[in-house]
């Protein structure tokens, strides 16, 4: 029989299982009240920003792709957008479409990894994907099949499945022929079928009743679901371009984490990622994805982080559907890249990484040497918001014993899919009851 826990408790989860990278959680409860919830994230402390200084303006797409094994395309695309902005260039048309198609591949593989191997086991009460695969082999195999097609799309356009090498400032080193993309079409059609099955599958999970109550922030570009461009908008009226970010958002060092905590001035924590994108861009989904979302019980008012697994599945479906549309309208451009001449100045660029908006800012001299670089990843922006949500979640579940509370809180964190990129991971778990 479970005993009611003490009113004074401290527990720490030293390493969070099934979170990409390194992280830990620390909770303090005194007199039956939650006093402190800290999510400690060991993020690369601006290492890459220092590494980029003095490098050529052509190098960030390759260097920053190495920051994250899960979302290298996001780093490449945001860096391209920022440097091209500094140089006064916009890449659109077919080259823009190809970038979007490459990004669709990354959304498919990143979201599918999270859905099947990291998040779904929570809803079955399993410790992880291995137990899930043991009991539901065909389901997990479907996930791997879907993810593989995302990998292959990144491989086709990026030149490699991990750390793509075909992206350059101004476009690509090589663009595919129309025949190459058409040859890929049947695989992407199959992925779309698998994605639709995935939406239906995850929609049937039993979701804990929990709500995110804060501000949701995502890019918005009229006429398209936000991936490679847009203005940053929110559920509380934010509407800014990338160069205005610093006027509206502050990043603060906090003692317990190497990641900076971001807050919107005068309001506070905010949340990026699938739930935010969906809430702010529901109307821009393809009809197929929108219909699947409705059938799955989602609306733009969805605020339950546990149901973000359904939103991810809808976004995978959208990525497959839109990818097919891009393939169908593709005509091989005359040249694989626009010529980009450097000039002295500052450029900002952002895109929607699978986990939310990723901002890059570069300052160049007139020869294109990088004077300063700044990278604002989505997980560090979300960290304060996740802590806030954890605080509420722990308050709502104080009756649980430490182990169960820690386990459930871990599930909350996993539902936000934090990516502490570029990390090693040595698992260790301790619980300290005061």
């Amino acid at each position: 029989m479970t005993q009611r826990p003490d009113t004074d408790r401290t527990f720490t989860v030293e390493a969070l299982a099934r979170v990409e990278g390194e992280g830990a959680m620390h909770v303090v409860i005194r007199d039956g009240q939650v006093r402190l919830v800290q999510l400690r994230i060991y993020e690369p402390p601006r290492f890459f920003e220092a590494f980029l200084r003095g490098r050529a303006y052509t190098e960030p797409p390759d260097i920053t792709a190495r920051i994250c094994g899960i979302c290298p395309v996001a780093y490449q695309m945001s860096s391209c957008n920022a440097i091209e902005a500094a140089c006064g260039i916009t890449v659109d048309g077919m080259l823009g479409d190809l970038r979007r198609l490459l990004y669709c591949g990354e959304w498919i593989e990143s979201h599918t990894l999270h859905i099947y191997l990291l998040h779904a086991p929570d809803f079955f009460g399993y410790d992880g994907a291995i137990e899930l695969a043991g009991a539901h082999r065909a389901l997990v195999q479907r996930g791997l099949d879907l993810k593989k097609i995302g990998n292959q799309l990144v491989d086709l356009l990026g030149g490699r499945a991990i750390h793509p090498v075909n992206v350059r400032i101004g476009g690509f080193y090589r663009v595919p022929t129309e025949a190459e993309l058409q040859a890929f079409r049947p695989r992407l059609e199959h992925a779309r079928d698998l994605a639709l099955e995935t939406v239906r599958w995850v929609a049937g999970f039993d979701f804990p009743d929990h709500q995110w109550h804060g501000e949701l922030v995502a890019l918005r570009q009229p006429g398209e679901y936000p991936i490679t461009r847009g203005r940053l908008v929110s559920t509380m009226g934010l509407d800014i371009g990338p160069e205005e970010f610093d006027q509206h958002v502050v990043e603060e060092h906090v003692e317990h984490s190497t990641a900076l905590h971001a807050r919107i001035l005068s309001r506070g924590e905010y949340l990026l990622g699938p739930l935010a994108r969906f809430a702010l861009n529901y109307d821009e989904l393809t009809p197929l994805a929108r219909d699947a979302a409705v059938a799955a019980g989602l609306s733009s008012d969805e605020r339950n982080p546990f149901r973000s697994i359904v939103v991810r599945a809808v976004e995978v479906l959208h990525a497959c559907d839109e990818g097919l549309a891009i393939i169908d309208r593709y005509r091989e451009p005359d040249r694989p890249a626009i010529d980009v001449q450097p000039r002295a100045g500052v450029g900002h660029g952002w895109t929607e990484a699978p986990r939310g908006m990723l901002l890059h800012r570069y300052e160049l001299d007139d020869e294109g040497t990088i004077l300063t670089a700044r990278i604002v990843p989505p997980t560090s922006q979300n960290q304060a918001g996740i802590e806030r949500d954890l605080f509420h979640f722990v308050e709502e579940n104080l009756d649980l014993v430490d182990d169960e509370l820690g386990h459930r809180a871990e599930q909350v964190i996993r539902s936000y899919d934090p990516c502490i990129s570029c990390a090693t991971h040595f698992l260790d778990l301790t619980v300290d009851r005061s």
Binding site: P45, I70, L117, I130, K147, T424
Partner: protein, 188 residues
């Protein structure tokens, strides 16, 4: 994703049916010694036959499973932290033990041991799997291996070549035995 490699003369004794052999280097070169798996593979590549496939991996299980599905011999090289002296070379051949070893080997959120366990659950493991672990020292952010680990690159590459040669020899013997009555010989 496969890398091209320099070709070397083939061994004189070789099976009639070319087996699929894959070397998988796991790790993050931006985390110091964590990149040793890929560095060892790069060192070993020039010493092996050209049809040995080479795959770089970040340790994510689904990529590992893709890399070794339908493969006869897979050699996975990864960074390891077990408390041994940096540069120590570990070799594991027991798939069951490897699958149970998570997270004491490997260095990734979902890593090699998870990949082996998941591959086992899905019946997608290579016929023979060998994991070579190199004990790490320094894994903070930055490129390059520590001196202790870098000094063992050649030894680790030799270990891999030995594993491949030993396996090929065993396969040749096995095929010679099974085809002795129907095949006149195995040599090219």
């Amino acid at each position: 994703m496969h890398l091209l490699r320099d070709s070397l003369p083939r061994p004189h004794c070789r099976p009639l049916l070319t087996p699929r052999i894959v070397l998988i280097g796991v790790g993050n070169p931006w985390r110091g010694d964590d990149g040793v798996g890929r560095a060892v593979i790069e060192t070993a590549v020039g010493r092996l036959e050209p049809d040995v496939e080479v795959v770089e991996a970040d340790g994510e299980p689904s990529r590992l499973i893709e890399a070794w599905t339908d493969v006869d011999l897979a050699v996975v090289v990864d960074a390891v932290r077990s408390g041994a002296v940096p540069g120590t070379i570990h070799v594991w051949r027991d798939k069951s033990a490897l699958a149970r070893a998570a997270p004491s080997i490997g260095s990734h959120a979902l890593g090699v041991a998870d990949g082996i366990a998941l591959g086992g659950a899905l019946d997608r493991l290579p016929s023979t799997l060998v994991v070579v672990g190199i004990e790490v020292g320094e894994t903070s952010l930055g490129l390059g291996l520590s001196a202790a680990v870098a000094a063992k690159l050649d030894d680790a590459a030799d270990t891999i070549c030995g594993i491949v040669d030993e396996w090929l020899a065993a396969e040749s013997l096995a095929q010679a035995g099974s085809k002795a009555t129907s095949s006149p010989g195995l040599n090219e």
